[in-house]
């Protein structure tokens, strides 16, 4: 006899608790290893923030293993980094110099922290004249640990592991957009011209060519929306006032408003030249997302959930994503037919997708813990310092 009440059954977990814990163990150990130095310091604030981050990252990884889903847990981490990075960064700026604006004195002494987004613009001038067009210091100093060499080294190491997945697991700016894009239940802007996907490439070419000619980091001077949440040259002229107005408008439009309305990472997908630069590494990166044509029913759900518009009908027919895929896993998690799968290049599509996913996630989450985890710990630390009581 049928029951009169209908119950909604929850989908069975992907993996048992025991196996999930076992798979999480290496990541837990890695987190402890990364944050071990903080436990040797006498400052309890550092230890508490490190412990919180270790727990946070390990729990999210466990949930990835347990549920078999990647996107929603990755997003929690990523949005946390996106919103907490400015907290930590701005707090440290105010503590150091009382303002977000960079006085010219700091640029003369090379105390400007190096931002990886400058990197594509440095290449041509450095190749032609061995000159770095950034007011930083080459080696870390006491007043500027984020030196040019250290940050480029960090980018290089992480890019070898992540490739374009940098945009999904490392970039501390992308999380802000991802957060705003997650707020609305349904997008107000549903149709976006796919040609906008090419704009980041054009902007990349534009800033690289112009920076080489003018010998200044043009993107940083004129186009970076994230100066609104980091630091910017002090306003002392009409030109600098115009530059400030531009970055505020770009931030408001591309990072806040459009993601809210479209549920896409509009700055990342349609503007960011560094994202275009990182896309080049998708050509050689071993991990990718593929579509099993035998299972795919062309429902286009993957295309609608992709935050980067990195899937087109033609690419699905070819069984691939576009070059700007950041391997966030949204399409894989949403595909009802299991057609969208994680893939290790060189292996048969769909044969061992979970194995490919595990290989990818161990590397990506290790980098995320090292880099994003550090940002989170720093932000928590700064917040704890502002509390009236101390540990």
């Amino acid at each position: 006899m049928a029951s009169s009440t209908t119950t909604v059954s929850r989908p069975a977990p992907f993996r048992g608790i025991g196996r999930s814990l076992l798979l999480t163990l290496p990541m837990a150990l890695w987190s402890l290893l990364i944050f071990a130095p903080t436990f040797r310091t006498p400052e309890h604030d550092h230890q508490i923030s490190s412990l919180l981050v270790i727990t946070f990252m390990t729990t999210l990884f466990f949930l990835m293993m347990r549920t078999g889903k990647t996107y929603r847990w990755r997003r929690i981490f990523f949005v946390a980094v996106g919103f907490l990075f400015p907290v930590g960064f701005i707090s440290s700026l105010i503590a150091l110099r009382g303002s977000m604006s960079i006085p010219i004195e700091r640029m003369v002494t090379g105390d400007t922290p190096f931002c990886y987004m400058v990197f594509p613009m440095l290449i041509v001038p450095a190749a032609l004249t061995r000159t770095l067009i950034f007011p930083g210091s080459i080696l870390p100093t006491e007043s500027n640990p984020h030196s040019i060499a250290a940050m480029i080294a960090l980018w290089l190491g992480m890019t070898l592991v992540l490739g374009k997945a940098w945009c999904g697991y490392a970039c501390f700016f992308g999380g802000i957009e991802e957060g705003f894009s997650s707020i609305a239940k349904r997008p107000r802007i549903r149709r976006i011209d796919p040609r906008f996907r090419l704009v980041p490439w054009a902007i990349l070419l534009f800033v690289v060519l112009l920076s080489a000619a003018l010998f200044e980091p043009v993107y940083c001077s004129w186009l970076c929306p994230f100066k609104a949440v980091t630091e910017f040259p002090s306003v002392h002229s009409i030109e600098s006032a115009i530059q400030t107005a531009i970055f505020i408008m770009l931030f408001a439009g591309l990072v806040v408003l459009l993601p809210l309305l479209s549920k896409k990472r509009t700055q990342c997908a349609f503007f960011c030249p560094f994202g275009a630069f990182q896309s080049i590494f998708n050509k050689i990166h071993l991990f990718t997302i593929r579509f099993d044509r035998e299972k795919c029913v062309d429902c286009s759900l993957c295309q609608s959930v992709c935050p980067m518009m990195a899937i087109s009908p033609e690419s699905v027919r070819e069984g691939k994503t576009l070059l700007n895929c950041m391997k966030c896993g949204a399409c894989v998690d949403s595909c009802r037919k299991g057609a969208a799968v994680w893939h290790l290049k060189g292996t048969k599509v769909g044969l061992h997708p979970e194995r490919a996913r595990l290989f990818f996630l161990y590397g990506a989450w290790a980098m995320a813990t090292m880099f994003g985890g550090y940002i989170l710990a720093n932000a928590i630390d700064m917040t704890l310092h502002f509390l009236p009581f101390h540990f």
Binding site: L205, F206, E314, S315
Partner: protein, 227 residues
């Protein structure tokens, strides 16, 4: 004519000097012409052969600009050239013309319609694109008369030579030295073209046109205000 100090220099010495000046300052030409050359070349038909043809046309037009400038240098003299060089009207006007040219050529390149296919690879082998307007001569000439720092150095030396043919040969040698540095641009022909690539080139050209346009207009406005 302003006072000009003509310096008798053996022909081979001035050729050598100009060639060396061109070679050493060539990176400036490579970088400063990049914004005009690269998007334009990326929108051209794919083969290395046709690209080379277009680039050679560009260089010939650039040489024409150099020689016209050389003639002006010799006739007007160094004092006039320095005043002329400092004359921001010309710089502003050249930038506005360059912006307009880039916009016109970008408009003339084939359009990627909305429904056209986006392939999985950003750039891969596609059909050759037919160009309505090439732009080699205009862009070449505009970059040839642009007042970049090595050009001004060359103009000071060139104006000191005895005869007009000597000045022209000086600038020809200077041009040869800088042209060597354009070799990397020939390799842009190896980049396989699709309509996607052309669209990226068009958007880049429009962005650069905006930059040059705004820069040129602000120079002209500043000149108008300050006199």
């Amino acid at each position: 004519m302003s006072a000009i100090h003509f310096i008798p220099i053996p022909a081979f010495a001035s050729i050598g000097e100009a060639l060396l000046l061109g070679l050493t300052t060539g990176p400036v030409c490579l970088a400063s012409c990049g914004p005009a050359v690269v998007p334009w070349m990326l929108a051209q038909p794919s083969s290395v052969r046709s690209q080379s043809k277009q680039l050679l046309l560009f260089l010939v037009a650039r040489l024409a600009g150099y020689l016209l400038f050389a003639t002006g240098v010799w006739v007007l003299g160094t004092t006039m050239m320095r005043a002329f060089a400092a004359h921001t009207w010309t710089m502003g006007a050249i930038q506005v013309f360059l912006a307009a040219s880039l916009l016109v050529f970008a408009a003339g390149w084939p359009r990627l319609r909305r429904h056209e296919k986006q392939n999985a690879e950003l750039v891969h082998i596609g059909k050759p694109i037919r160009q309505k307007r090439s732009g080699a001569l205009t862009l070449g000439f505009l970059t040839g008369i642009n007042f970049c720092p090595p050009f001004l150095v060359a103009s000071v030396r060139g104006a000191q030579l005895l005869t007009l043919p000597a000045t022209l040969i000086f600038f020809l040698s200077f041009f040869a030295g800088t042209a060597v540095w354009f070799t990397p641009y020939f390799f842009l022909g190896l980049v396989r073209r699709t309509q996607t690539c052309v669209l990226v080139a068009r958007i880049t050209a429009v962005l650069l046109a905006c930059w040059y346009g705004i820069s040129g207009i602000s120079i002209l406005i500043a000149r108008l205000i300050h006199g």
